[in-house]
């Protein structure tokens, strides 16, 4: 197996944990990842994610099981100014998952979503 950047593996571990939605063991985690990385690599990633506070773990028998840590803090600082450079869309090599929409663009997006056939739009129609 070619060595892969840890950052990439981190993203993949997070994706697998998020999709699992429950505590899963490291073995399960490895199996669900593309290219089956070694246990030790995955453990390195998991330790990093623990440090970041992005995963939680419980001891089950002789090993740990992990899940994505979500929604533990009810209080959100909510100030973007501290992260001004990143919070604004203006970056050269970093791109946010979505760009900030103007009111007009948000309206257009809602129109696109409203065009969905009813069979498809029933699933997650919680958009305001």
């Amino acid at each position: 197996m070619a060595r892969r950047p840890l950052g990439r593996l981190e993203a993949e571990v997070l994706a697998v944990l998020a999709a699992a939605g429950a505590y899963i063991s490291t073995v399960d985690l490895c199996e669900r990842m593309i290219g089956a990385p070694t246990r030790s690599t995955v453990n390195t990633i998991l330790n990093r994610l623990l440090d970041k506070g992005m995963v939680q773990r419980v001891r089950v028998g002789r090993q740990y099981e992990y899940r994505l840590a979500v929604d533990e803090a009810d209080v959100v600082a909510g100030r973007m100014h501290e992260h001004l450079r990143l919070a604004s869309d203006q970056q050269y090599v970093l791109s946010r998952f979505v760009e900030t929409l103007s009111g007009e663009q948000a309206r257009m997006l809602r129109v696109v979503l409203d065009d969905l056939p009813p069979s498809l739009s029933g699933k997650g129609g919680e958009h305001p």
Binding site: G7, A11, A18, R79, L86
Partner: protein
């Protein structure tokens, strides 16, 4: 100096301008590669030609110093370079060096800050997710607002999307686009299309991995709408402040009414049928665009002369 001096620019610039306006009818994987190639060739040609003409202008002004330059750096005919061209070339080259330095510096500092912040979760309510390039210290930067809003399957989509960015080193494409538009401001539409193609690339791979295009579309829409509604005030001020601080300059993706949002385009594409993979057309088009523009970009830097390669 003759008309052939400007051949590389004449060949590489038109496609770069054209592809900013015309949609490439290919899978985003190929679109992104072609646009990056064309942007890089055009920028290299312009900078190379400017440098070449500038050096020869210098040789015109100071013939003694010119004797010490290698032969391939000078025009064969030893004809003097008119001041008009010479001054223009020097100006273009100096401008290019300054803006390239600025883009690189800001990219480095921005990435460094993102790495620092990605040691934890960004504590703000706005949903933020971005891929942070880096071998050991790269990763994904997400905000509390994103984690709170999305369900497990939706978060999986976001992480998968960012993983695709990291796997294919998309930051390099973005850097090529940013450099091109900084050196040649009229390549801004090309840069926009390149950015869109890179996002679409990640969207399509995510849809393939997850197997649910509609859920990917919905997740993007959900995050985008949350960025507007919940943080309308904050985002507005932050955006304005960022522009004041100089961060918004030249990018302008959030200018209201500038163009249709890329997010809307991505959602629309995901709700449509998956694009054809172009297993033959894609590589052919990429090869074609590389072969037509690449050698000219190299020629602009006189590489064919330097290495004694026959050209054309």
């Amino acid at each position: 100096m003759n008309l052939f001096t400007f051949l590389p620019v004449a060949v590489t610039l038109p496609p770069a301008i054209l592809l900013g306006w015309a949609r490439v009818p290919l899978h985003p994987v190929w679109t992104a590669r072609i646009l990056a190639t064309v942007a890089a060739s055009a920028t290299t040609s312009v900078v190379g030609t400017a440098l070449f003409v500038a050096v020869n202008y210098g040789a015109t002004l100071a013939p003694d110093a010119a004797d010490r330059l290698p032969e391939w750096m000078l025009f064969g005919d030893d004809s003097p370079v008119p001041s008009m061209f010479g001054v223009l070339a020097v100006a273009v080259f100096v401008f290019a060096c300054v803006v390239v330095g600025r883009v690189v510096r800001r990219s480095v500092s921005g990435t460094r800050e993102a790495r620092r912040l990605s040691r934890g979760v960004l504590e703000c309510d706005e949903p933020v997710a971005m891929a942070v390039p880096g071998w050991r210290d790269g990763g994904v930067l997400v905000s509390r607002g994103l984690l709170r809003r999305l369900s497990g399957p939706e978060l999986a989509i976001v992480f998968r999307h960012e993983e695709t960015h990291l796997r294919h080193a998309h930051h390099r494409y973005l850097l090529v686009g940013a450099l091109s538009r900084a050196v040649l401001p009229f390549l801004r539409p090309l840069d926009r299309r390149l950015r869109l193609a890179v996002e679409r690339w990640a969207d399509e791979e995510t849809a393939d991995a997850v197997g649910d295009r509609v859920l990917v579309a919905r997740t993007i829409a959900k995050v985008a709408l949350a960025s507007t509604t919940s943080a309308a005030g904050a985002a507005g001020t932050a955006g304005a402040a960022a522009r004041d601080a100089g961060w918004g300059r030249g990018v302008g993706r959030d200018l209201p009414g500038f163009a249709e949002s890329q997010t809307v385009e991505r959602v629309r594409a995901l709700l449509a049928a998956p694009p054809a993979r172009n297993p033959v057309t894609g590589p052919m088009a990429l090869l074609g665009s590389s072969l037509t523009t690449g050698p000219f970009a190299a020629a602009a830097f006189q590489l064919d002369q330097a290495f004694g390669l026959p050209f054309i």
